[in-house]
Symmetry: C2
Subunit: 388 residues, 2 copies
């Protein structure tokens, strides 16, 4: 099958993608690592990529753990793989801890993978409510309320609180420190999904009092996908990264280096190599997060100059994902021959890709990492289209 990437020279504004753009020098290196599937496995001696010294995957994973304030890190099949490992760990842990029930509490703006991985692990999900339109924020105290409700109803504590640091709908930043204090007080394990922040914003899981941090390399760590990381502390690492206990009956084979929660070994492919190559760049860019936020908030002001355009979610922005209500574009779509598709297509014609095709009443995108010229161009194209 012949394929062409039609967007190669476009400015990308897809909010999923901005943090996953590979820096040029890394991109130029990649052809040296794309001739074979198992590219990181030539010198694997112990049968698990995370134990490899050549390339120094073991050392790299320790660097990742340190950078995010944790003790131990394994790479995973995307952030969803990391979340699954947490959910499965908690699901097993509940069996040994009658103080807890297999209900977990999540925030109302969680990514769907939090629900799906809980479903996979057989955990029940209780959501904290948000305050609705237009900010969709919630009060950290509501986590305490839900903990009490679960305790009251099930006579046991919820087994986990799982919070989305920056959510995928509005780019709100969750009150993770306050929730961490509540979890500490009630002795409830605490996981924070930093898929949208880890690798763009400064993150310290110790300050959050989190036991688990789930990361997406292709979302926010300038890496190819699928790749995620799970960072944890020494207290939990022997549970979540427990090695296999099974023994194959007749042959007696054991798998002592393999970690079931990450499928034994999470495979040393090109995503992992790209992430190793990008990691210094990622560390450096998180230092410039405040500058990015200034640029982003200025951009929001500029967008809201347009009639019928309003930011949803908290203001000022503390994250790069932007969600606007765009009545102006919706009005145009009603009479445009391409209907709601006109907007994404008009943007592409102007060299900007990343709006969800078909959407015009609400749009989500990001200008994270764009130069001031590119940012100006995005703004001007929106202005131009608004005049249609």
């Amino acid at each position: 099958m012949k394929l062409k990437n039609p967007y190669q020279d476009k400015i990308i504004i897809n909010a999923l993608m901005r943090g996953g753009i590979v820096p040029d020098d890394v991109h130029n290196e990649l052809p040296n690592w794309t001739k074979v599937g198992y590219i990181a496995c030539f010198d694997c001696l112990q049968g698990r990529s995370s134990l490899c010294d050549k390339p120094p995957i073991k050392k790299f994973l320790q660097d990742v753990a340190n950078f995010f304030g944790g003790d131990v890190c394994e790479h995973t099949f995307g952030c969803r793989g990391a979340q699954f490992a947490v959910m499965r760990t908690i699901s097993n842990w509940v069996f040994e801890n009658p103080k807890y029930t297999n209900t977990i509490i999540i925030d109302p703006n969680a990514h769907y993978t939090t629900n799906i991985t809980a479903e996979m692990a057989g955990l029940k999900v209780v959501e904290v409510p948000h305050m609705g339109y237009p900010k969709y924020i919630y009060n950290p105290k509501d986590f305490e309320q839900k903990i009490k409700e679960v305790k009251e109803k099930e006579k046991r504590l919820p087994a986990l609180v799982f919070v989305t640091h920056a959510d995928p709908y509005y780019g709100n930043i969750a009150p993770v420190d306050e929730i961490g204090n509540i979890c500490e007080e009630y002795e409830i394990p605490y996981a924070v999904n930093v898929a949208y922040t880890g690798g763009v914003a400064p993150i310290d899981m110790r300050r959050m009092k989190a036991s688990f941090l789930t990361l997406s390399a292709h979302k926010s760590m300038a890496s190819l996908g699928p790749l995620g990381y799970l960072v944890t502390n020494n207290q939990w690492s022997n549970k979540v990264f427990a090695t296999s206990e099974s023994k194959s009956g007749w042959t007696g084979k054991k798998f002592g280096n393999k970690i079931p929660n990450i499928f034994g070994c999470a495979i040393g492919g090109i995503p992992l190599i790209s992430s190793i190559l990008s990691f210094n760049y990622v560390k450096e860019r998180t230092k410039k997060w405040e500058d990015e936020l200034s640029k982003i908030n200025k951009f929001v002001e500029d967008m809201e100059v347009l009639d019928g355009v309003m930011l949803l979610g908290e203001k000022p922005k503390r994250h790069h994902l932007l969600h606007f209500e765009t009545e102006r574009f919706f009005e145009i779509s009603k009479t445009h021959p391409k209907k709601g598709f006109f907007l994404a297509e008009a943007m592409i014609e102007k060299g900007i890709v990343g709006l969800h095709r078909g959407m015009s009443k609400h749009i989500k995108f990001s200008i994270y990492g764009l130069s001031s010229e590119e940012t100006t161009k995005v703004k001007e194209v929106f202005y131009e289209i608004a005049k249609i």
Copy 2:
């Protein structure tokens, strides 16, 4: 972190890697697809990569299903992801089918991921015995025997028979058709792991009477990793690829397009793109499988000319993975300053990479896809080292 791929110009003979080498024209295309993590997701309208029409992932997956004799295919996080989906499906299915117990029967030469994914899904594993040194083959009738034993002991039928088509230890080809007939007779679901054959040898799951085929794109489909496929038939597809049934309490969010067994969506990254680009090449090369086997069997003869070198596993070879007992090299290692490491290092010095470092008494490798010049070179280097 700076990294260099030290093996870029070497002849690769790692048996894991030979089937995962990306053809040159695809390799040359890859830089167009490696600037951003979620490269296949620009035009995702339905929130699952396998439903995408642009790039035509949906159509491609149907092509993959057809090529292997199945009805439906989803891409997964490696073959282990595909195996996990099967195991999880069976684990849930047993609850609704009191005729079956949560014990599965596997072959004695299974890849470790079969054990690990069974462990993940809470399935017990019973192994069929092999006949030991030097061929390690087994009798398909032994599957029938084990089915009867499980039935006798647990008063129920085993829930699954899971067979490794070409095994990772000896490269023996399993008697999959005969086992398929037994499974049909006893009405036991049947999965075949073709990680080492699907994409190099002709495969037809209907002829095997298999309900599930698990594939590794980075092992045998000339693709970057991590990527696998699960192919199934219409009978099982609505179970193994069932969409999410969960509903998030307060917000009422549902995830109707997401498939929990593959983590919702298995993510459209560069491995998937590489596999789409390579697929025609893969289809064509499977037609030349008999030529490859002739070359391989000639090579085995040439190797066995060396004193103290003997093929393990079945003979003649019906697969490309070669496992030799190499007393000659072991003898050398005893007095060599590099001990057992001398062999892999001597090979690398001669431009050939892929032997497991430290091993000299037994070696595993493959010459699949090597030109006759390269094949001759590999042979001559072994001859040369044997003379040390």
